[in-house]
Structures are given as C-alpha cells and as structure tokens.
Amino acid sequence: MIGRFRIAWKNLWRKKARTFLTVGGITLSSWVLVSLLGFNRGYENALDRDIDNMGYQLMVMAKGCPYEAATLMLQGGTGLRYIEQSTVDSVKAEPGVAMVTPILMQAYFDPNKGENGGIAGYFGVDAASYAAMKPFLRFKKGGWFIGENAEEVVMGFEAAELEQRDVGDMTFVPEKNVQLKVVGILERTGTQDDGTIFVPLKTLQRIAGTDRITTIGIKMEKDADAGGLEARLYELPNVQVVSFTQVKQTIMKLVSTARLMVFSIVIIALLIAMVGVVNTVLMSVLERLPEIGVLKAMGAMPGDIFLLIWTETLILCSCGGIAGIGLGFAFARFTGVLARRILPYAPKGGLVEIDLRLAAVTLAVIVAAGLVSGIVPAWKAGRVRPMESIRSAI
C-alpha cells in the first residue's frame, strides 16, 4: 500500500538538482543554528569550569584603580596595592565563608627574557589552604613545600615545561636574585595554574619585603547568601570584592554582542532557506497542476493534497536539518577554534557543546520554520480546481 511519505519523497526526487539545492540551503542554516546554540552552551559551561577551577568564588583585593594596578603589574610588579594579612581573619569570621586562602602575587622584570625582557610572575600561597580550595590539584612529581618559610617552588605543568625544570632543579627570581628549589610539579589542570610558579607565602613576603598580601580567595558555604556576603565584604576597609559569578555575567555580556550578531545571521540564513523551500514547493505545485487535478478527480480532498505537499516540505526540512546538525557535530571543534580566534576572551576547553537535546531543538526549529513556509504552497495546491488544472495541461 502506498503511503504519503513515499509519494512525497518520490515527487521530490523528480527534480534532484532543485531538491539538493533547497536541502543544501536548509543544511547551512541548520548548521549555523546548531553551532550557535552549541557555542552558547559550550562557552558558558567552559567559563563555569574555568571559574570553578579557580577554586574560590570570591576574591578580595586591595582597593585602587584596577587599570593602574594591572598596568603596573604588567610592567614590573611595583606599585601594587596590598591588603593587610589581618584582613584574612576578618573575612574568615564572616558568616557564609567556608574557607579562605591568602595569596601574594608578585611579578619581577627579567631582562634576559627575549629581546627587551619579560615578566616573571609568582604566587605566594599558603599551601594547606590553597590545596584545600583546589582539591583537584594533583602532582606529576614531588609535592608541596615542606615548610611555610622554605626556599622552594611548586611549578605548574606548563611553567615547568617551559623552563625545563624537574624536581630538584633550581629556579632564579630576577630582580631579587634569589634561588629557589623545585620541589613539586603539578599535573596539567587546563587552568591558569599550569603557568604559575607557587612559592610559600612567607617566603615570597620575605623576598618582596612585605608582610602583606594582594588577594584573599574565598570559598562560600553551600546556600550562602552571596550578595549579602559580598556587600559585607565591601564594608571592610580598603578592599574591593570580585565575584566570579558577576564576572562571568560581565564576560557573557561582552560576548553577547558577538552572539547577537551571529544570531541575526542565523535568522537571515533561516529566512533565506525558507524562501528557498517556498520557491521549491511552489514551483513543484505549479508544475504538477494537472496531476493534482487528477488526484482531486480521483477523490483526494483539499486536505489530502495539502498534507501531501506539506509532507514534501517536512521531508526537505528534516533532511536539511539532520544534515546540518551532522555537520555541526562534525565541525564542533573547528567552530570552537574559530570562535577562540575571534573572541576577546575564551575560556579553556571546548567552546562548542552539542548534544542530542540541542540537536532536537535545532531540528524542531528548522522543521517548524519549514512547515510554516510550506503552508502557502500546500494551501494553494489544495484549492486547485480539477477541471481547470487538467485542462491547463492541454
């Protein structure tokens, strides 16, 4: 027994080139749509991962013009703003705070790095609390410092690779002319820790000639009132608070302009593809008027003809949608690489995440748009008067 899909499929196969071109247009718009949706999700997830991997959700830093601080840090590490170490106790005492870790960031100019010199950066950390913040940190070799005043370093994976350091090797702090021993090399984490050189906090304070710190990393208790805690932390003297949730939102806003642009392109591509669908199906109807007339003569109701033509639209959009989604899956990594080149900031890891649910949403959008596009030609076909259309062939 013949079925509607079979009839529709065979009709589409009559004009292969036209069908392929129409499906091709739908494929492209579907590919762009699923890639964009995958990027939306992937970027946010990657950002979440990056932020989660920082270990702490809030940071307290010294108050001051952040632009100046960043510029000075980039140029040589002097003029940094500091906070008193006693602030750590104040922060720890706040309700909602699960744990804290004090950090001293220092950067020194190395004149023997490249033609014009470069920066060597160091993180002074309290090993116990820092490691507790980041339980996922694992050592490839060695371990944390033996004491809080030890003249030792722990290197991130990439930092060690760059400097060709192994456990037992020495490193050299430029400007300060201090030699430190490598006691541990971390496994690759995919975060900024990979490029970091960790020094015991007290050791770096001694090298820097200060007893203060630059940052306090804060992990909140589960279900803590983040907004309330942030507001209270702001009341501490001479500090500013960085909330990674807010930073994430800000970064997402930065990216949203690009996303909006791409989204507009997707809409336009979809409209163009659907115009192609309307054109293809309408042409197909006009070419087959006598046939449609005969179908009506043999007992096809207007609704039968409508569904037959609409089914052709459904097949076109489903095939194009599925092909586009397939391309989205296949080129997800390439799309991520492309996005990484264009965006001002891109977190580590894959930027495009496409799963079956997203694919289903994309297919639904494409098919829905196609079915809407197919209404007019299908309706026209249903209204064909058999006598006139049969005679139109004569």
Binding site: R14, P290, M298, M301, P302, R383, I390
Partner: protein, 230 residues
C-alpha cells in the same frame, strides 16, 4: 448491456463562461438520461461542448443552470452550487475518470499508480482490486515498471485500472485514445467494450472519432453546446 435503473438524469444543463466581456455558452440546455450498464459516446468537433458536458456529468464542475440527479439523488439544481469538497465526495463514490493524456504519476510504479485512489479513499470490498484489475487489463507483468517504461496503450490501460480500483458506478472517458495510434486505439476500444459487457460498467465516453464512437450502444452528437441523439 443496459439495465433499467437510471444512473444519470440531466435536465436543461447549461454552462456559460465569461471570457473578458464576452459570455460563451459552452453548453446550452442539454437534457439526457443514462441507464445502468449503458455505453454512451458523445461525439462532436472541438468546441462542441462535449468535454464541458462530461465535466458536469462527472461532477468536476458546477452548471450555470439546469438539474442533474445521480441514481435518483439530486446533485445540481434549485439554484444551489456545490462546494469542491462536496463534489469530491460525490466523485470518489460514483465516478472513475480516464483522460486523453493518461496523467499517470511519473515517479510511481504501475502498481502504485493504480493503488493511488485507495490512499485517499477506500471503498469496502476493494481489497485485492489492484491485482485483479491489472490482471484483467493484462498489465500484471508490468506492475513494477514506471510509466516511462511502458507504451501509450499500456499507460491508458493503467489509467483505466486506476479509474476502476475503487469500484465506481460510472466510468467517464474524455478522449481516451486521443494520443494513441490505431493499433492501441483498437486495444483500448476492446478493453472498454469488455468492461461494459462482462462487468456491466456504465461508460460515458467523449471522442471526436466517429469510428471509435460506434463502440457505444448510444451515440449522442454534440453541436454548438446542444445534444442530438440520432
């Protein structure tokens, strides 16, 4: 072989068309009766109104004036026009159609073309009808061929099978051999006669070919929109 039951009764059927400012009277007050099992040929030159008449008789169109009944049920008349949906319901119950250009679906096989009406509407008792009709018409060996792979005469046989698959009461044939050579014309003629004789099928045929028209037991001549039965 004709029976006594009247299947089509038409009184004063008129159909006018407007062409710009001109009104053309394609059919002018035609009245006739067709009984069950009759083979009626309408013959006439081009523009005589024979196709307009068969379209009205076959409920493919509404008359401008006049009445028509099918098996005693009034279809047209009393100033009422029927909707396309209504006409379709009547067509699917009563009529089968064959046309000069066959109008087979080129992408469907012979078997699929014949089965197509059943997709839209299946009367009770039509199970196995596709195979039976293809057998009767000598097309069972071409079941899986496409229309482009068979001859004109074979295509018209397939069209006849398609027209009959839903067991219509009346077969309407509009110039069924218009595109065929003499040999195929004779073939189709034999088929139609056989169906009329053995199945008791009522056939209403339109042709411009006087020789072919003589297949019917009644020949009605059409001239200038009027019917003349000699």
């Amino acid at each position: 072989m004709s029976g006594t039951e009247t299947v089509i009764e038409a009184r004063g059927l008129t159909r006018t068309f407007r062409l710009g400012s001109e009104e053309i009277r394609a059919l002018d007050g035609v009245s006739l009766t067709i009984r069950q099992g009759e083979f009626v040929s309408f013959m006439g030159p081009s523009g005589s109104g024979k196709t307009t008449l068969i379209n009205l008789l076959g409920c493919l169109d509404n008359p401008t004036a006049g009445e028509m009944s099918l098996s005693g049920t009034r279809i047209f008349g009393g100033g009422k026009s029927l909707s396309e949906r209504h006409l379709t319901r009547i067509r699917r119950d009563v009529f089968g159609y064959i046309f000069q250009d066959f109008h087979l679906i080129p992408t469907l096989t012979v078997r699929e073309n014949v089965a197509l009406p059943l997709f839209f509407y299946r009367k009770p008792g039509t199970a196995g009808e596709v195979e039976r009709l293809l057998g009767i018409l000598g097309m069972e060996h071409r079941m899986h061929h496409l229309p482009r792979q068979i001859s004109g005469g074979e295509m018209q046989r397939v069209a006849i099978a398609r027209a009959l698959v839903n067991r219509p009461a009346i077969l309407l044939a509009d110039e069924p051999t218009g595109n065929l050579d003499t040999k195929r014309t004779d073939e189709i003629g034999s088929v139609l006669q056989e169906l009329n004789r053995t199945e008791g099928l009522t056939i209403v045929m339109v042709t411009h070919d006087a020789g072919f028209a003589r297949l019917g037991e009644r020949i009605i001549e059409m001239r200038d929109g009027r019917a003349y039965e000699g």
